[in-house]
């Protein structure tokens, strides 16, 4: 099969695929950064949100942070394996990352279910609106990541497209970083 020119040519010295991922991350910075900064500004303007925020579960949030950090760790181990040409090992690590993503979503669903049953819906007040929007957009990214990681891992297991292990990892670490900020914003700064 002929390789597309864009894959081999690079003006920046960065492989094109990886450069594309950096652009994705840059646009995500604007999306999430905007959302988080809006939240911070509203939160400062509304001291009474503290009453609502007191109901978030710090330990659930902390556990999910741990899950994401671990999933990032396995993703970068996969990257290391891929660079050594060991696609099988890379795939194993990526499947672990995918498992982390699923665990994260599972915990998140249980958390949200209990909160919604208690009456804290997205319409309850400004705090909960931000809570569900920010964490929800993040959760969508986790789900998207899990799906893409699955396909990349399946390829990598057959020794194909190993460079993609790194690219999907960069995206995944970024999703991790978003949560690193969401966690103190929503669960700790009460």
């Amino acid at each position: 099969m002929q390789t597309p020119i864009a894959t081999t040519r690079s003006a920046t010295g960065i492989p094109t695929g990886r450069l594309a991922i950096w652009w994705v991350v840059a646009s995500e910075i604007v999306i999430f950064g905007g959302l988080l900064l809006s939240y911070v500004m509203h939160r400062i303007g509304h001291p009474e949100w503290a009453i609502a925020q007191a109901h978030t579960h710090t330990f659930v949030g902390a556990f999910n942070t741990f899950v994401l950090l671990t999933a990032s760790f396995t993703a970068v181990k996969g990257h290391e394996a891929a660079e050594k040409g060991d696609g099988k090992k890379a795939a194993k690590f990526l499947y672990l990352t995918m498992g982390g993503a699923c665990l994260f979503i599972l915990v998140k669903s249980l958390e949200w279910t209990s909160e919604i049953l208690e009456g804290y819906t997205i319409q309850a007040n400004g705090f909960w609106a931000f809570y569900y929007t920010a964490a929800g957009l993040h959760a969508l990214h986790v789900i998207a990541g899990a799906i893409v990681i699955f396909f990349v891992a399946r390829d990598a297991a057959k020794g194909r497209n190993l460079q993609r292990v790194e690219y999907v990892g960069i995206y995944w670490h970024f999703v991790d970083i978003i949560w690193i900020f969401l966690f103190p914003l929503l669960y700790i700064a009460k």
Binding site: L19, I29, G45, H55, T58, E118, N125, L162
Partner: protein, 240 residues
């Protein structure tokens, strides 16, 4: 994988060490919440978040070894985003300026503060309250046609958040306010007041009579006649 890719990307630090550092940092940010001291919690939470994010970006995303242009791409996106939001921040973070008062925002603040009766029932303080306040708003607005307007009920549902259920100026919202909401039971409050000024304060907000704009305007839910009745009701609180 291209050749140059190999050249720039053979760096693999000890990921275990970084992972362990990240988990320890996470533990620190959670422990910070137990101190109960606000600024310690904040520094531990956000300082730690910055360190964690840097560790992940540099080592896991390999930004440390990436070509500088990638950092420019990310940095410019970050700076433009922060600039834009910093520009609008005064409008969002404040509820009043020299020339303006955001009454809707103040009213939202008042609604977000739960009633005295049911703060600890395990029931969501904020959710039913906001609906209740909204309902109170509607009944007050629809009052002339439907149920007769009761200044007392309106006061207890709408004004009590700041002025307190007995009008002593000690509602749950009062803590965050300076100057404090008026204390209608205090005879000193009444010494220099005329009814028309009070009616104006109620319908057009504190700022309209030279008082604090933390006193929202209620003209949208109280007619002139109702404001009159409200002032009459406030008189009955005097000296209680």
């Amino acid at each position: 994988m291209s050749e140059q890719d190999r050249d720039t990307h053979q760096h693999h630090p000890d990921y275990w060490k970084i992972y362990v550092a990240l988990v320890i940092l996470l533990a620190i940010s959670v422990v910070g919440t137990f101190s109960g001291i606000l600024w310690i919690t904040f520094i531990m939470a956000f300082g730690v978040a910055l360190v964690k994010a840097t560790l992940v970006a540099e080592n896991f995303m390999h930004l440390k070894w990436e070509k500088v242009i990638a950092k420019w791409v990310l940095g410019i996106a970050l700076i433009l985003m922060v600039l834009f939001f910093a520009g609008v921040s005064p409008d969002i973070m404040k509820d009043r300026g020299l020339q303006w008062v955001n009454n809707a925002d103040l009213a939202a603040t008042a609604r977000g503060i739960p009633d005295e009766e049911e703060p600890e029932k395990g029931a969501p303080a904020s959710a039913p309250d906001s609906t209740k306040a909204a309902a109170a708003t509607q009944t007050a607005a629809a009052a002339p046609a439907a149920a007769p307007f009761s200044p007392e009920t309106t006061f207890k549902t709408v004004c009590a958040a700041c002025h307190g259920p007995e009008g002593e100026g000690n509602g749950p919202g009062a803590a965050a306010l300076n100057p404090k909401p008026a204390n209608f039971t205090d005879p000193a409050f009444w010494t220099d007041k005329t009814d028309s000024v009070l009616e104006k304060a109620i319908r057009q907000g504190g700022a309209s009579v030279g008082k604090s704009s933390a006193m929202p305007a209620w003209g949208s839910i109280l007619t002139e006649a109702q404001a009159k009745q409200m002032v009459a009701y406030l008189h009955t609180l005097k000296g209680k």
